[in-house]
Subunit: 409 residues, 2 copies
């Protein structure tokens, strides 16, 4: 009998680049990689019906364990047959471990934990709320697990590696993640090292609980280590030696180290298994991730930015609140193939945002998600056609107005 989960590499970049195009097979369908995974935080991709998510080309949905654990609770989702059935998503699914939200919404750190912060907008957490001061009590970490308070009602909860895997079993995704301790990029080396070693021990416990449960899900181990090469490489070696079905590259980065940290890790992780870069979604980051060996990405940016009126175009991000768009009777991006661009004008979107109509969020989210999903599709195509570098240069210089080299400088 065929394995329910596997990964096949179609083509690897040449000239020393370790990026690749592949296919992840899951019980609910294939994911052609590189791929951008839509985030469905609370078992819904915000403002979109599942058919809209599928129509824009999203191949898979990632839900957040922390959020679904708090509401509606894993018991409800389990009875529903898992979060995919609950929300009527028919494709492959992921859940994260809950680690990131426990630490970021749990305010474990003075500055909170966030993903790459390029500008103010990007400092919101995965739920679109500010990670700062959500509630007073910090998460408390001990060797066994983490005690944290709900950002909804302040109630106390506890996650251990075992509990995270059990909750993810109830949530029923095809691909789940080992429970990890998430650090701040501002944390010093000793703290990073301590967290990393605990994450390694938690990875083993996650694997053991996963094997005990026999859910048939694929379990990905999570590599941590912040910006420190030694820690990243140590983590990759330890996690890569364990019997995971794939890997997550975790936690947090500063804007300069996404390329380097990812490369250190992926040079060590076994190449035959898929790698997911958690919570990263800027166009440049996608390129940096892919060429350094990442297969899948997820990020709330496209939907969160969309709800705020920031829209991706081939020539960079525009803000729909700009007065000039009120009378622009053209799509957001003439070359875009999304439902929004094929049907509606910037003038209409401007109106919907100003009138505070919910359809504004729907149309903007469809467009932004399609932008990143298509970007990953096009990167895949360019790898298969040996045209990656040219595609990268054309895309980045159009989007940022600067070359790849300039952006990397």
């Amino acid at each position: 009998m065929a394995k329910k989960f596997d990964f096949k590499i179609g083509k690897t970049m040449g000239n020393g680049a370790i990026g690749r195009a592949g296919v992840i097979r899951t019980p609910h369908g294939e994911i052609q990689t590189p791929a951008f995974i839509a985030v469905g935080t609370k078992a819904t991709v915000k403002a979109l019906a599942p058919e809209q998510v599928a129509s824009l080309g999203a191949q898979a949905v990632l839900a957040n364990t922390y959020h679904l654990y708090l509401e509606p609770g894993p018991e409800i989702v389990k009875v529903a047959g898992g979060f995919a059935k609950f929300m009527r998503w028919r494709g492959p699914t992921f859940t994260d471990s809950g680690g990131f939200q426990v630490f970021s919404l749990g305010a474990a750190f003075g500055k909170g934990v966030s993903k790459v912060a390029r500008n103010e907008n990007d400092e919101d957490d995965a739920d679109g709320r500010s990670a700062k001061n959500v509630h007073a009590a910090p998460a408390k970490i001990d060797e066994d697990g983490v005690t944290f308070t709900s950002h909804i009602d302040g109630s106390t909860h506890r996650f251990t590696p075992e509990r995270s895997i059990q909750v993810q079993r109830d949530l029923g995704a095809d691909i789940i993640f080992a429970f990890d301790e998430c650090t701040s990029p501002h944390d010093p080396y000793p703290k990073q090292q301590e967290a990393l070693e605990r994450t390694n021990r938690w990875a083993k416990r996650s694997l053991t609980e996963h094997e005990r449960g026999g859910s048939g899900q694929a379990l990905f181990g999570v590599v941590q280590g912040g910006k420190y090469r030694e820690l990243r490489e140590s983590s990759a070696k330890t996690i890569g030696d364990m019997d995971f079905d794939g890997f997550g590259i975790g936690g947090s980065f500063t804007k300069d180290d996404i390329g380097t940290a990812v490369r250190w890790v992926n040079a060590i992780l076994p190449a035959d298994r898929p790698r997911h870069l958690l919570g990263i979604g800027e166009p440049l980051d996608i390129f940096l991730g892919v060429e350094n060996g990442v297969d899948t990405f997820d990020c709330v940016s496209p939907t969160r930015l969309g709800r705020n009126g920031a829209l991706y175009t081939a020539r960079g991000r525009i803000n729909v609140w700009n007065a000039r768009y009120v009378s622009v009777f053209e799509p957001i991006d003439k070359k875009c193939d999304c439902y929004t661009c094929e049907n509606f004008t910037l003038a209409y979107l401007s109106h919907l945002f100003r009138a505070q109509e919910m359809l504004a969020a729907t149309l903007a989210s469809i467009h932004n998600l399609r932008f990143l999903v298509r970007l990953a599709e096009d990167i895949r195509k360019s790898i298969l056609e040996d045209a990656y570098e040219r595609f990268r240069e054309d895309t980045l210089s159009s989007y940022y107005g600067r070359s790849y080299e300039q952006l990397r400088a």
Copy 2:
């Protein structure tokens, strides 16, 4: 050449009942009547993409002239090719005259103007805001028109019959309404009479401006007169004698006079033209309207109630916030054929509402709109099959737990 707009009666009820099943033909398609028209206040049916509106069986959309006049303004909508093209609705369209909102949002009356008030929820105005005290300055009526302040920014505006028709020409609906003065059901006879006589004069001016413009739109005259039979009949006679393409039955009712007032009017209005009952949408009201000669209805209730979590079922309205629904893994109504009921459970809807997810509003609106659209479809079928009274009894006794006679008592 065939007329762009006409109305054909397929069958009239027998036994003295004046209700009928017919077909309204417009440049953008037919409306099989009786029909419930979806409200797209600001050129969007709240929380729904136009394809979702079409999929649930809505045949036409009615937008509010007052709202579109204020934002984005008729100039923008005109350049877009009318509100239908702006919002990508491909079927027939209506706009109201702006009269109701000018008077209700303009706080022309101490108590505000509202449609039939059966309970507290129903007292919101067409925009889902409370009509009470929206802003301080009341609308000022003179013979020529109405001066009112925007509920958005307090700026001063003026509508005359001519201006209303001009704005509606820019908005470009297939069916538009003459500008009318809308009274409160609490207004005494002399005030109702004065308003009525002015509405009659404004009707004539609306017609003149309409003919001058040559837009090819169909213009409906509006009958007013409150709860006074003499006024209603006088209005029906005056308006009915004018060269309108159809009629709106206007303004406001108290819960007891919807059947009577509508009947007084429709016994007089020419039977060969369609009649629209403005802003009424409770199931009992639909039956009372149809059997007393109404062809089309519009109301914000289904979408507004839906956004609040109140859901229609064959056995009456339920509230999704009720704790028991959290673990009900069944659709809102097992017999419902809407997208929401075919795909999602009450448990999922409960989760979406509690998690404040926008999809909650979308799914609830689809369900509630489908409920009223289907009710009108089924009433039409029952008229064509000579089974109206039986269908009415079955439907009302199931929905309200009381017979038609009990409900009328």
